[in-house]
């Protein structure tokens, strides 16, 4: 859980970071409380798109309002995680 300091959306497939912390994601988040770790999820035209869009909207509103967010993630590298849930605590 923490406050978002970095919120990025980018082109499909361009990814973020280097191995072993590479994230094959279109949305990237960094938290003030975890400055050395990056989180992300894919935002592609597939069956996950509606849910992922809503997850992104929660991140946007939290960033703008300065609210903390709760991220559930699966560790994919020592300093990288794939987000599976986003919540307003």
């Amino acid at each position: 859980m923490g406050h978002i300091t970095f919120l990025r959306a980018h082109e499909v497939g361009s990814g973020f970071g280097k191995a072993p912390n590479f994230l094959d994601s279109e949305v990237i988040v960094e938290l003030a409380e975890e400055p050395l770790r990056a989180f992300g999820f894919q935002l592609r035209a597939d069956q996950n798109a509606p849910a992922r869009t809503d997850m992104f909207d929660i991140l946007r509103s939290a960033f703008i309002a300065g609210r903390p967010v709760r991220l559930d993630y699966v560790t994919t590298g020592p300093r990288a995680g794939e987000i599976i849930r986003v919540a307003n605590p």
Binding site: F6, L7, R8, A9, H10, E26, I28, A32, D72
Partner: protein
């Protein structure tokens, strides 16, 4: 081959337009549907396509960040591809960045395969709330 550059600034112009109408003069035209200008550059603009294809969700997310930055007057960081000698470039990454110092360390919990969420380490720590003062004894 285009150069990959990055620029940070506040948005002074944000436009979305019909597919195929483009932006810019013929020798520096962007075949895009979303266009924005930053106050950090005197001339030129950035844009990206916003079409009903596989890139649509990511591009909509990029556009949403631009809207948020414009409405809230926040600086935005854009990575863009631009040909040498041109002033208009194609944006491929949009980021909002806020410098913020963490007041408290992150709360972390671990989820096992069973689906049960384990409490974070602070849950086992002793309570930090101060004890109430002992009541004075009654005088005999």
């Amino acid at each position: 081959m285009p150069n990959l550059l990055e620029k940070t600034g506040k948005i002074v112009f944000l436009r979305a337009h019909d597919l195929g109408t483009g932006f810019g003069p013929p020798n520096d035209q962007l075949d895009v549907e979303a266009v924005f200008c930053l106050n950090a550059i005197a001339e030129g603009a950035f844009g990206f396509q916003l079409r009903n294809d596989n890139n649509l969700p990511a591009r909509q997310a990029m556009f949403s960040l631009l809207r948020d930055a414009f409405v809230n007057n926040l600086p935005v960081t854009a990575d863009f591809l631009i040909d040498t000698g041109k002033k208009n470039g194609v944006a491929i990454r949009i980021a909002l960045i806020r410098s913020q110092v963490a007041a408290t360390p992150a709360v972390e919990s671990v989820q096992r395969i069973t689906g049960k969420v384990m409490p974070g380490p602070e849950a086992n720590a002793k309570s930090t709330t101060p004890r109430s003062k002992p009541k004075p004894r009654k005088a005999r």
